[in-house]
Subunit: 242 residues, 6 copies
C-alpha cells in the first residue's frame, strides 16, 4: 500500500536530523521524551504524532527558568503544552518574545473580550487557511463561547455566523486588513467608531489581526502541527454539558 | 443586549412569509412540524434551529411517493433528513433530479472510493468556503475514514493532509478546476493518468468537483444551514470507539 | 510545417484508445459512425472535427430507450445531437441525471424567461472562460433574443450589454455567486427582491448559475468541444431574416 | 416596459451634450451625419446605433488632410470607418499618434504574421474583457485565418485553440504580460527564444500586447462601441466561401 | 563569492550578441560609446550600468533627423537621454510614434496639470510594479511638485497620499481601469464628472492610464533599466533648496 | 483652494481628541513636545508633520525606565525615535513586547545578514504596499548595502534586483509566504535547503517575513506615518560618499 506523502517527508526530516548528529542525544530531545509526558489525554497514536511538531529540525534549547515555569503552568491548566511553544523552544529569546506578545494581546485587559479576540484569530486564520491556528483557536472559540458551532463558522466562513453587528464590523475590518491591507483607510476606521469601538479598541483589533497574520505564516512556513487534543475539545454545547 | 444579525434577518424572513399568506397553513409547513420528528437526536435548541433551513421562503411541496420513501430511508439510516433535501423539497422535479445526480456521483460504482469522493467534496467546498457542505461532508470524511482529523484537514487546507500521492494529485486537479477552470489542460489530465487514474476516473473527479461547485453556490445563495447533528459526528478516532 | 498542438494531443488520445483495445469495435464507436449522420449540415471538415468530442477515451454505452428517444428528438428539432450529450453517453444513469436536471432548469416553468436563463448561462460561462458553454449557449441567446449582438455581449462582458435593470441585477448576482460565492449574503438577496424577483426566482437564478458552474468545469476538465454548427447560428438580426 | 439601462445612460449623455451648447451645430456633428454615409451595409437600426460611439461627449474636430485621406481609404477598403478612429477624432494630434502607432505595430514588416499579431490582440483583449477590441479584432482573426472558429477561441479561451506550439508560447507570454507584468523575467524571454523567436520578435510581441493593454483601457473607460458590421464578418470558413 | 544573477543573465545577453555578429562594429554600438557621452553626471559605475538598457539585443538604428534633434534637446534640457528612448531607437518609425504619443499625452494642453498626469503615471506603474516607470516618473512627481515625499507615496500606495478629493477620484479611476478595466462603467465616469472633470478630462485620464499600462508592459517584457541619475533627483523639498 | 483630504481627516482626529478631554494636558503630549526635540535634522514643516503619527488618538503613557533608555539610545544612534515606537508608546507592555521581538529578529545573530533581513522586510512590505515600512526599511536597505538603488528595487519589484541566487530564493519564499501562505509546502523548504539555507535559517526567513506581515497591517490599520528624515537617507552610493 502506498504511504501517505506527509509521513514520508517527515521521515526524511527525521533522517536528516539523525544524520546531522545534534549535540544532545536524540533520545532526550523534545521530539520524543517530553511528548510522552505532555499529552497523555490523547492516547497512543496521537501522542506519537504530537512528537513531530514542525518540518524543521531545530534542537530544543534548555528552557529558561521563566519558560520552564510557563510550560509547567500550561500543563497544569491545559493538560498539555501547546505545540507552538515547543516549536519556538529552540531559542529562549524568541520563545520569550513570542509568549510576551501573545499573552499581552490575547489575555491583557482590552475593550475586546477574550472570545472576540479569538474570533479575530480564527477569521484571519481562515482567510490564510492556516491549519495550526484554525485547530487551536477554533477550539478556543468553542470553549469560550460554549457554542461548538461558532468555532466551525469562524473557521469556515465567518460571514455565515450569528454574531452582533458590532462583532461583524470588527471581523470585516480584520479580514480586509488580512486580505488587502493597502485598501484600509479612514472610512474603515470610521465604520468601527460608528460601531462604538474606541481608538484603543481599533488598535487591539489591528494588533490581533496583525499577530495572526504573523503566526499563520510562521506555522505554514514550518508545517506546524497542532496538538491532537484540540480536535475533541468543547464539541458539546455548554448548555448540554453535565 | 444586541441581537445577532443573522437572527434578525431570519426573523424578517419569517415575517415576510407570514405576510405573504401562503396557501397552506403555516403551522403545517415544513418549517416547524416536520422538524420535531426529524432530528430528535439533537435536542431542544438544535431542533428548533434546524427548522429554518434557508433564507428563502419556499413552501414545501407534498413529497412524491419516491421522495417520501427516500426521506424515510434517510431517517432510518441517518436518523434525520439532511437539510439540503428539505431545501429542494419545494419542487419535486428539482428534488428528484438533485437526488438522482447526487446518488449516482457519490454512491455508484467508481474507480474512486466513497471516501475519496467525499475528500473532493470537502476540498472544493473549502476553496468556496461553503459552510453547509463543509459541515455535512466534513462529517462524512471523518466517518468514512475513521479519522476525525482528516475531515478538519480537508476543510482547512487539504495541502496539509496526510494522503497518498495519488489522492493528492486528485485533490490538486479538483481544486485547480474549482479555482481557475480555464487553466485546466491536457497536462493536468496527463498528471492524473501518471497517477494511475483511468479516463473514466478523470471524468468522475471532474464530475464530483463540478457538482460541489454547483451545490456550494446554491447553498451560499440561499444561506443553507446544515443539520446541527453533523457537528458532533465522528469526532473520536475509529480505533478508540467502543 | 509545425502541427497544431491540439491535434497532436488528440491524436495521442486516439492512439491511447486504440492500444486500450476497447470491448466494442472502434469502427462502431460513438467517435466515428454516429457523427456522420448527426451533423450533416456542417459539411466535411466540420463533421470530422465533431467526431472527437472530449480528450477522454470513454466508450459510448448503448442508449437507453428514453435517451435514444431524446437523441432522436434533438436531431428532429435541432438537426443534431449536442456534443455534451454524447460526452455523457458513456453511462446512462449519468446522462439521464444530467438531462433531467438540465431540462428542469432551462425549460420548466419559471419566473425567469428562457432567454434570461440562457443569459445567466453565458455570463457565468464567460467568467469561467468555458469554450463549450460560451459557444452553445451564446448561440441560444442569439436565437432566443433575435439579437446577434446580445450573445456576443454576454460572452465578452455582460456589463456592456443593453439589458433591463432587473436583468442586470440578476446577472450581477449570478456572476458574484460564480466569482466569490462566500461573499453572497442577505444584502444580495435583498437587491434581487427589490428588483421584483420572488424567493422562488432567487432559487432559480442560483440554481442556473450553480448548474453552469458545474458544467463549465466538466467541459474544461475534459476539453469538451461544441458542435461546429453553433458558430454560424443566428448571426443575422431577427428583423432582417426572411 | 422597462427601458434598457444602457439606452438611458446614453440618452442622458446626449441630453448633457445638448445642454452644453457645443460650438458647432449638433446636426452637423460626428454623431449623426457621418454615420449615415459610413456604414450603409449594416442597415437601419445598426446604422443608428453606430452613431453613438462612446459615453463621452467630445465634439469631432475637422479632419486634417492626412486623416481625411486615411478615413477615405478605410471607407474604400473596409466599407466603413472603424469607430475607434471616430472616437479619437475630437483631436487631430491624438488621432494621428494613434494611427501611426497602430499601423506600425499591426501592419509594418515583422517576424510575426498579421494574423499572429491579431491573435495577440484578441487574447489580450479577452483577458481584459474588452468588448470593442474583441469584436473588431475577433473579426480580423476570422478574416485573416479563414477560420471562423479561431476568432471565437481566441476571444473565449485561447488555451483551447489549435495553434502551433510557437504561437502558444507567444500567446502565453502576451497574456502573462497582461495579467501580471511584474512576474515577467528572463526565463519567459528564454522560452520565446527556444520557440525560435528573435529578440526583435520578442519586442514585437511585447509591443502588440502592450498596445492592446492601452486600447482595451481607453475603450472600457469610454464605453466604446464597435461598428455592428463586424459581427457578421467572416463567419463562414474560407473553404466554403464562393 | 556568488555573482548576482542579473549580472549573469546580462552577461549572457552580451555574449549572445557577440556571437550574433551584428552588422555594425560592437564598439560603435549604442551599448557602449553613446553612454559615455550621455550620462556624465552619474559617474563611473553608474554610467557603465546605463550602457545595458534592456535584456534584448536590438541594434540601434541611425537616428532620423527629427529624432537626432529630439535626443539633442533631451541632453540639453535633462542632461541625458532617457533610456526608454534609446530602447526604442532600434527602429525609427517605432521611436517616432512613441515620442509623438508620449509628448501629446504628457505635455500637450489638458485639463489635467502635468503633475497630475505624472501622478497617474506613477499610480498605474505602482499597481503594475514597473521598475522603470516608477523610477523615471517618480522623479518627475518629486520635481513637478517640489515635494520629495509625494513621489514616494504615489510609488508605494497612492491611497496614503495627501491629495485633493478631485485628484483622489482621478487616481481611483486610473487604478481601477488598470486593475479591472472590465468593471469600469457609467457610474465611474459619473464620479469623475461630480469631481468637476469634463468629458475631455475623462478621456485624458483614460489615455494616460492606458498609455502607462502599455509602457509598463513593454518595460517589464524587456527588463528595461532607468538611467541611474533619476534616483537622486529632487530628493530635497523645494522649500529647502537653495 | 481645495484642502488635501488627509489633512482634513487628521484635523478631525485632532478635534476628536480635544473633545475627548484626555487626562493629561495636550501640550505635554507625545504629539507636540517630544517631536520638537526628536527630529531636528528634518527642519520645520517636516518636524511638524512628524507630530501626528497615526490616525488613532492614543495618549502616550509614561515611558518605563527600560523604554526611556531605549528611546534615548535611538536619539543618540539614529538622531530620532522611529515613529513606530512612538505609536506603540501608549502602552508599555505592548511597546516592550514589540521592541523585544523586533530586536531579536532584526539584530540578533542569524545565518541571515542584517541586510538580508531588511531585504525581506522591504520585499514583504512591497507586496503589502505598506507605506510606513517601505520608507523606513527601504532606507535601511540603502544604508546597509551602500547601494541607493537596491532599496528602490526591493520596494518596487524585487524580481528586478541584482541579488545572488541564494538571496533570490530567500525573497521568493518570503513573498510567496506573504501572498499565499496556504500554498507553502515541503518543496518550498527544499528549495531553500538546496540554496544552502539551514533549517534554522528557514525559521528566520519565515519569522522575519511573518513579522512584517504583522507590522504592515498594524501600520496600514492605523495610517502610521514614517519620520520624514528617512526619505533623504543614503541616497548617494557608498562609493561616492566623502
Amino acid at each position: 500500500m502506498e504511504k501517505p506523502i506527509r509521513d514520508r517527508t517527515r521521515k526524511a526530516a527525521q533522517g536528516r536530523a539523525a544524520r546531522a548528529k545534534p549535540l544532545r542525544a536524540r533520545s532526550g530531545s523534545r521530539r520524543t521524551a517530553p511528548a510522552r509526558k505532555e499529552a497523555p489525554a490523547v492516547g497512543g497514536a496521537a501522542a506519537a504524532d504530537d512528537t513531530v511538531i514542525t518540518a524543521l529540525e531545530l534542537e530544543a534549547a534548555p528552557l529558561s527558568p521563566a519558560m520552564a515555569a510557563y510550560f509547567e503552568k500550561c500543563r497544569e491548566k491545559l493538560g498539555f503544552v501547546p505545540n507552538v511553544l515547543k516549536a519556538y523552544a529552540f531559542d529562549m529569546p524568541k520563545l520569550e518574545a513570542f509568549v510576551a506578545m501573545y499573552n499581552d494581546l490575547m489575555l491583557a485587559p482590552s475593550g475586546l473580550s477574550k472570545l472576540e479576540r479569538e474570533m479575530i484569530a480564527v477569521a484571519v486564520s481562515s482567510h490564510n487557511r492556516c491549519y495550526y491556528c484554525l485547530v487551536a483557536h477554533g477550539a478556543a472559540v468553542r470553549q469560550l463561547s460554549g457554542d461548538p458551532v461558532l468555532g466551525e463558522l469562524m473557521a469556515m466562513n465567518y460571514r455565515a455566523a450569528k454574531v452582533t453587528r458590532r462583532q461583524r464590523s470588527m471581523l470585516d475590518f480584520a479580514v480586509k486588513l488580512t486580505a488587502e491591507p493597502w485598501q484600509v483607510e479612514e472610512a474603515d476606521r470610521e465604520t468601527l467608531r460608528k460601531a462604538k469601538f474606541s481608538d484603543r479598541d481599533i488598535w487591539d483589533i489591528a494588533a490581533v489581526a496583525g499577530f495572526f497574520n504573523m503566526t499563520n505564516r510562521v506555522a505554514s512556513a514550518t508545517d506546524m502541527r497542532p496538538n491532537r487534543v484540540y480536535h475533541g475539545q468543547a464539541r458539546t454545547p455548554a448548555t448540554e454539558r453535565s
